[in-house]
């Protein structure tokens, strides 16, 4: 545990050093969020009735999405883990297969948190200061905010346990780039990264909400913005827990399988 705190600390200090990078990153994300909102605004003006979410909810959704990008997006893979597998360095870690899964898991958590902590605050502050209708709103009740936190935590778990599956699949395919891109693109799209799930037409929306990807950024962002509230929020979190457990179990099974094969073949 201490080790992961240390990783977090190191990466965080590292990110402080590169202040130009931090600034540039924040500016990029801010501009991105801004432009997305402008686009949605244009659609809203075209036909307010057809808008499936309240506009203010959409605004909050987008700002939160940008602020916590590193936490929610699947495409923040750890190059280190891919390299460890493809270079065969894994052969040295065979003594404790159980540890390997959790080690990578915790490493991913630490890294994503470190990347997020620095960037989220300035973006959130500015998002709350810009004029209407671009302003981000705070959750209506304390309860809603709490539910958001819980959901965000589970969302992180689902995202990482999904990426674990991708890492583990590299054991079998050895060449990672294509699989990496394809899986990340599809996962993020179906999680509502390009447009929020409520904007999906039926039956796509129904299908998407049944997939594990709906348990990623889709849930916490919609809980925060108030799109999913009350009893629905609890159901949503329940769904997240379900997928989290399922993905972890699958991942553990796959990694044990893969490591056994590695032992047999000698790496």
């Amino acid at each position: 545990m201490k080790k992961y705190l240390a990783i977090f600390r190191i990466r965080f200090i590292n990110s402080l050093q590169y202040r130009a990078a931090a600034l540039a990153g924040m500016a990029t994300q801010f501009a991105w969020g801004f432009m997305e909102i402008l686009a949605f605004l244009a659609f809203y003006k075209a036909d307010p009735a057809a808008f499936p979410m309240e506009f203010s909810q959409t605004v909050s959704y987008i700002w939160m999405q940008q602020a916590f990008l590193a936490l929610f997006m699947v495409w923040f893979f750890e190059a280190e883990i891919f390299n460890a597998i493809t270079s065969g360095g894994i052969a040295y870690e065979l003594a404790r297969p159980v540890d390997l899964y959790w080690r990578w898991f915790s490493q991913s958590v630490a890294n994503r948190l470190a990347k997020t902590v620095l960037r989220c605050l300035p973006i959130l502050i500015i998002a709350m200061l810009v004029p209407e209708p671009f302003r981000m709103s705070l959750p209506a009740t304390h309860g809603q905010f709490l539910l958001f936190l819980v959901s965000a935590a589970f969302s992180l778990g689902v995202v990482i346990s999904f990426s674990m599956l991708i890492y583990i699949s590299t054991f079998y395919t050895l060449s990672c780039t294509g699989v990496r891109i394809i899986s990340a693109v599809l996962a993020d799209f179906l999680a509502g990264a390009i447009i929020p799930l409520p904007f999906f037409p039926q039956p796509f929306r129904a299908i998407a909400e049944m997939l594990p990807f709906a348990a990623m950024q889709n849930m916490p962002l919609r809980i925060y913005s108030g799109n999913i509230a009350g009893i629905n929020a609890f159901w949503g979190i329940g769904l997240q827990v379900f997928w989290l457990i399922a993905l972890i179990l699958i991942g553990r099974y796959m990694i044990n399988n893969a490591l056994r094969k590695v032992v047999v073949q000698g790496g």
Binding site: W32, M35, A39, A42, G178, I181, I182, V185, L186, I194
Partner: protein, 258 residues
């Protein structure tokens, strides 16, 4: 020129060795822009038009930006990777060769898998061109070609600026993505969608609107003056400050090392 073709065949040869990986990466590229396309499609299943533009018309925009970007990216990938070229010392090696450095950077990277995006752009054009209800006379066809060609030159200049910035700092680079990747992503809608200020910025500062928006108006017959037809050419002088900045960065690199 002959030298460039040599590099071309070398890269091709080298990348063809990994056929499976190439295929999957190209597929991945295709999917990236495909999800953007899906996003647009889903929106238009709900809304009939945005800022007066219908779905096929917006697709014309989307395909233009995509094609311009993928052409520029295919050629200029070396500049996109420039920060890495500097930091691993490959650039010093280029300086030891008796050729223009810009040419060497250009030739250093050609990712054929990026053509996945090009394929998609063509496919989208195949749908959008007939469906948009435009009367495709010769002048409109020329306009479209100008849009794509000048567009790729502008994107290429943005890559050049990105690379030139890395002469000064490697860290602060990310914001250029707003204009390169951002230009492509936000360019999926005609730029008037983003409001007057955005449009003005994209006309006078980073001339993306000059090849995406105004010529589009001409094609859709909302403006009839042929001035709008040739507006993409107005974006070309953007290359001058871009190249000047590159030369400036190069001389600074030579005097301060890395």
């Amino acid at each position: 020129m002959r030298l460039y073709m040599k590099y071309f065949s070398m890269h091709l040869q080298s990348q063809m060795q990994y056929k499976l990986s190439f295929f999957f990466t190209a597929l991945g590229q295709f999917l990236v822009s495909f999800t953007a396309l899906l996003g647009i499609w889903f929106m238009f299943m709900r809304f009939n038009a945005v800022e007066g533009f219908s779905f096929p018309q917006v697709l014309l925009c989307f395909a233009t930006m995509l094609m311009a970007f993928s052409l520029a990216e295919f050629m200029g990938r070396g500049f996109d990777h420039f920060p890495r070229i500097i930091s691993n010392g490959e650039f010093d090696r280029m300086l030891v060769r008796p050729r223009r450095v810009a040419l060497q950077v250009l030739a250093s990277q050609m990712e054929f898998s990026r053509l996945g995006r090009l394929v998609q752009a063509i496919l989208v054009f195949c749908y959008a061109i007939p469906a948009s209800g435009v009367n495709w006379t010769y002048d409109k066809i020329i306009t479209l070609c100008l849009m794509v060609i000048c567009g790729s030159i502008v994107f290429f200049c943005l890559f050049l600026i990105y690379a030139a910035i890395s002469f000064f700092t490697i860290e602060g680079l990310e914001f250029m993505n707003i204009f390169t990747d951002g230009g492509r992503e936000f360019g999926r809608y005609p730029f008037s969608v983003y409001g007057k200020e955005a449009l003005r910025f994209l006309t006078y500062v980073i001339p993306l609107a000059l090849f995406q928006y105004y010529p589009l108006l001409y094609i859709l017959e909302r403006k009839t003056s042929s001035f709008y037809m040739f507006m993409p050419l107005l974006a070309l002088p953007f290359a001058i400050p871009a190249y000047a900045f590159w030369r400036f960065g190069l001389s600074r690199y030579k005097s301060t090392g890395s």
